[in-house]
Subunit: 107 residues, 2 copies
DNA sequence: TTGATAATTCGATAAACTTCAAAATAAGCT
DNA sequence: AGCTTATTTTGAAGTTTATCGAATTATCAA
């Protein structure tokens, strides 16, 4: 699947977002991450794999442990897409008009 | 489900992202949206419903037509969460360090 | 009311997702 | 080699998702 779908899908799960938030505080190994959740290690490993596939985290081995850290490249790409789609959109637009309005803002 | 999960899940599908991109060009009714995709109207209606539930689009009726437009409120919220998680993350970090270092940044 | 058009909802199906327990892999220790 | 710890992979169950065609709802025009 395309990276962009993988990224947003990964972000669509509360457990995975929690994992990212914890990694924001500092790198953690798989066991430390799993310890913070009520679900099993196997499930966490699965979530970590999805985050990795999406490019949102990186892993490096340190002895017996896999150390996870945030990675920002695809995140930036996703942000840019969001900006491009929602740019120039007025959060409180005039109602009752359809199609593109030719009248601009009062200036 | 929480809004944030709904938003990212909604964005995790390529068809729905395409719909948002088209709406960026200007408001469209359901038929116009469906006409641009190889899948059926029922499926598009389903996708539009998810986008609506997520708060990414709004609908208004105009005669027999339902007119969809982008809505930015939850989008901004999602952006802020992304920023908060990925802030201060170096896209090209030093390697080989684990755990949270007790030594802070110089300053 | 009847007929036409626009869009959604319903019922079904196949694929994908989340989770678990158990088995397998990897690294370190003796 | 054997034993322990850390993590992933596998196989299965239950849930959610994407899609379709058919039926339904809503609006407009006579």
């Amino acid at each position: 699947m395309e990276t962009r779908s993988l990224v947003f899908k990964a972000l669509g799960d509360a457990t995975r977002r929690d994992i990212l938030e914890r990694l924001q505080q500092g790198d953690l190994n798989a066991g430390e991450i799993a310890a913070g959740f009520p679900i099993g290690k196997a499930s966490i490993s699965h979530h970590l794999n999805l985050l990795k596939q999406a490019g949102l985290v990186r892993v490096r081995r340190q002895g017996q442990q896999q150390i996870y850290s945030l990675h920002t490249t695809v995140f930036r790409e996703a942000m840019q897409w969001l900006m491009s789609v929602f740019q120039d959109q007025n959060p409180n637009p005039a109602k009752g008009r359809a199609k593109s309005s030719t009248s601009g803002q009062p200036g």
